[in-house]
């Protein structure tokens, strides 16, 4: 395959999603737009940090209920034990093509790679829980800002997390 066929420009998702959901009769999504960002410098090197990871890709343990692949305003948040088997997951989310991640969850939620970096000493430790939730199409964002996300912060603090890796999908 020649290089001429590979993608160099990012996909324009804002336009694509407006067209996709508009065709389904949904009103245009009012995106949150910010000009600045909060800031908490990492307090120590990653090699000394306790790390966890959050996915919004409709990923759940096989023993848990499936996520609703067409969910809207779903504030469900699953905790995933740090020792979970990477072959013990299911994905239900219409938002993206997860056939590769169905075969190897590490494409989208690299829990095995995180463990390897702990073994290698590049990461200090992993928190006792990973996380899956905040799936797309959340229209009631005030609830995220005032309820769901602050409640999540409390859980991260219980686990004494220094660094959250967030993987949206």
């Amino acid at each position: 395959m020649s290089d001429a066929t590979v993608r160099t420009e990012p996909i324009r998702y804002v336009e694509g999603l407006a067209a996709y959901y508009g065709a389904m009769g949904h009103p245009p999504y009012q995106w949150s737009v910010y000009e600045d960002a909060p800031w908490q410098p990492l307090p120590k090197p990653v090699s000394e940090c306790r790390v966890t990871m959050l996915t919004s890709g409709g990923i759940s343990l096989c023993a848990m209920p499936a996520f609703d692949p067409l969910a809207r305003n779903d504030h469900r948040l699953d905790e995933i034990p740090q020792g979970a088997d990477s072959k013990d997951f299911q994905i239900h989310d219409s938002y993206y093509d997860h056939r590769d991640a169905d075969r190897d969850i590490n494409c989208q939620f690299p829990i095995d790679r995180l463990r390897e970096l702990v073994e290698a000493g590049e990461i200090g430790s992993l928190a006792p829980r990973f996380w899956s939730g905040f799936m797309g199409r959340i229209y009631n964002r005030t609830k995220v800002l005032e309820e769901s996300a602050p409640a999540y912060v409390a859980e991260l603090k219980k686990d004494e997390v220094d660094l959250l890796i967030a993987v949206p999908a």
Binding site: T5, V6, R7, T8, P10, I11, R12, Y13, V14, G16, L17, Y20, W31, S32, Y34, E35, D36, A37, P38, W39, Q40, L42, V46, L54, S56, G57, P69, S94, Y96, D97, R99, D100, A101, R103, D104, N106, C107, Q108, P110, R113, L114, L117, I123, F134, V144, L145, S148, A149, P150, Y152, V153, L156, D162, L163, L164, I165, A166, V167, P168, A169
Partner: protein, 93 residues
């Protein structure tokens, strides 16, 4: 997800976001983002490509450790080896 990162960071916990939707991430401006121009669902590369998965993960960790500018968005230079497009829908269920 960017909103969640903002709330977590404002509460004193460092966050790094690994995004395959550059425009989506740029407008919500999480504290630190690594843009990976791969298909959504393949933020860390292909199945069983351990080296690429580690490469993306290490790039994000490096950003978490070294970034100094709130709202920074770094483009990972790696290129996906095949064409890909926006592909939501029921075929993905």
């Amino acid at each position: 997800m960017g909103l969640v990162c903002r709330v977590v960071e404002a509460a004193g916990i460092t966050t790094v976001c690994i995004s395959t939707g550059r425009d989506l991430t740029a407008q919500v401006k999480p504290p630190r983002s690594l843009f990976v121009n791969f298909p959504m669902g393949n933020a860390f590369g292909k199945p069983f490509d351990r080296d690429m998965q580690l490469h993306v993960l290490r790039s994000a960790l490096s950003l978490a450790e070294n970034a100094t500018e709130p709202g920074v968005l770094v483009d990972l230079p790696d290129v996906w080896p095949e064409p890909f497009e926006f592909n939501p829908g029921r075929s993905n269920m």
